[in-house]
């Protein structure tokens, strides 16, 4: 009886520490260099530059719901694959996300750095794996539903925006790839 009570308390403490750990989840989970090496086995291609025309800036602005600062975006491309390292503010601080797109569909999403004290659950594969295979609709939305995470609404929203952005930019890069 006493042993069961001790076990229950230990389990409770463990769950509490896990949830506390998830809530306070800021950190760098993978460097951009490591992400690129993982995304391009062999040799990482040199970065390419996509210049943002007015039309592209307008579409990006629609996706991100804000003006995008910058006139060019850096990306890595090989065969049908492109890799993007993008940032978006969750609640107050930027989340760095690495996204690989292949043939117009998300191949991989990886949270590279999370800087806020709450909402870090987005880094878990249980969330990011939902994006694998997702494509962009003509209305610039993902063609599938992504389950949210309670307490991480803004982080989820930020990651969804970035995946939509990566799919759009991949499409642009495929039509007219820029020179490095």
């Amino acid at each position: 009886m006493k042993r069961n009570r001790v076990k229950r308390r230990c389990l409770g403490l463990l769950l509490l520490s896990i949830s506390a750990g998830a809530a306070h989840a800021k950190g760098v989970y993978q460097t951009p260099g490591a992400f690129l090496q993982q995304s391009f086995p062999g040799e990482v291609p040199p970065p390419s530059l996509m210049w943002l025309t007015q039309e592209r800036k307008q579409v990006i602005s629609d996706i991100m719901s804000r003006n995008y600062g910058g006139l060019r975006i850096r990306y890595w491309a090989q065969d049908e694959r492109t890799a993007w390292i993008l940032e978006e503010i969750g609640k107050e601080l930027p989340i760095t996300v690495g996204i690989v797109v292949r043939a117009g569909a998300i191949q991989r999403v990886k949270i590279l750095a999370f800087r806020e004290s709450r909402g870090g659950e987005v880094r878990y594969p249980a969330f990011t794996d939902q994006f694998t295979g997702a494509e962009l609709n003509p209305d610039l939305q993902l063609n599938r539903h992504i389950d949210g995470i309670s307490g991480a609404t803004l982080s989820v929203r930020a990651v969804k925006k970035l995946t939509r952005l990566a799919l759009y930019l991949h499409e642009q890069a495929s039509h007219a790839p820029s020179k490095p």
Partner: protein, 263 residues
């Protein structure tokens, strides 16, 4: 125990309170009159320029760090970055260099590199943790007209695509150099940094209530209020006593005259 002679002490107290509180009374009256006419004098739309007063409110303008870049200036005040008088970024780490390179303005802070076009629009921002060989310490141009970046590991060079970064031996022929901002631009940046700053109305209110000197100032004003109350009380008491004394004196004079007349 000798009886307290209020006729002697009250006027003395009145004099003492009046002299000691005169300066405060003038300050209270002066600030009060001005505050009564805030709208007419537009005191809420006029701002304090005195560094001393601004410092009391913690409104301190840091010294700018500036780099001349062609005909422009890149400056940093605190964590704000300016291209001439236009704020281009806030919450930046310390500025480490700025120069012109192939028609672009290149700016480095301790954790980023910024590329601006000729209009000052942001082309790209690279962070030291992903796209730079390290944290930028200095900037330069090599004799081959390549961009040079100094990190704790030494100098690296690159082209306008900012890739790849190659270790460089030696030093660049031209380095980013700080300069002294023209005073007019410095004043503009100072006002921009302060924003609307401290209104004259706010300053007068805080002088009137003593809050400008913190809790001690508030207590001093409370003391001043008590002094003014004391002035009123001692003044009224003195006046009343004198009035009563003069009325008591008048009937006895009349009695004397009456006696004289009877005689």
């Amino acid at each position: 125990m000798p009886r307290l002679n209020l006729n002697t002490h009250m006027p003395r107290w009145h004099r003492f309170l009046g002299i000691s509180g005169a300066l405060f009374a003038l300050l209270l009256a002066g600030t009060g009159i001005l505050l009564n006419h805030t709208s007419d004098l537009k005191l809420d739309n006029r701002y304090v320029q005195s560094d001393w007063f601004l410092k009391q409110y913690g409104l301190h303008v840091p010294e700018p760090l500036s780099y001349p870049v062609g005909s422009h200036w890149i400056s940093q005040l605190g964590q704000r970055l300016y291209l001439d008088k236009k704020e281009i970024a806030s919450d930046t780490s310390p500025l480490t260099g700025a120069l012109t390179y192939v028609g672009m303005t290149v700016i480095t802070t301790e954790n980023s590199l910024w590329l601006l076009d000729e209009t000052g629009a942001l082309i790209e921002q690279l962070k030291s943790h992903d796209s730079l060989p390290g944290n930028p310490i200095d900037l330069g141009i090599t004799k081959k007209n390549e961009l040079a970046l100094k990190t704790s590991d030494g100098w690296y060079t690159t082209n306008e695509a900012l890739y790849p970064w190659r270790p460089m031996s030696g030093s660049p022929i031209e380095s980013a150099t700080t300069g002294s901002l023209p005073s007019a631009l410095q004043q503009t940046l100072k006002h921009s940094y302060l924003g609307k700053g401290l209104s004259q109305e706010r300053l007068l209110l805080d002088l009137h209530t003593g809050r400008i000197f913190g809790p001690l100032g508030v207590y001093l004003v409370d003391l001043m209020a008590l002094i003014l109350c004391g002035l009123a009380i001692t003044g009224l008491t003195t006046w009343f006593k004198r009035r009563r004394n003069s009325s008591q004196l008048r009937p006895s004079t009349e009695r004397l005259k009456l006696r004289e007349s009877i005689k």
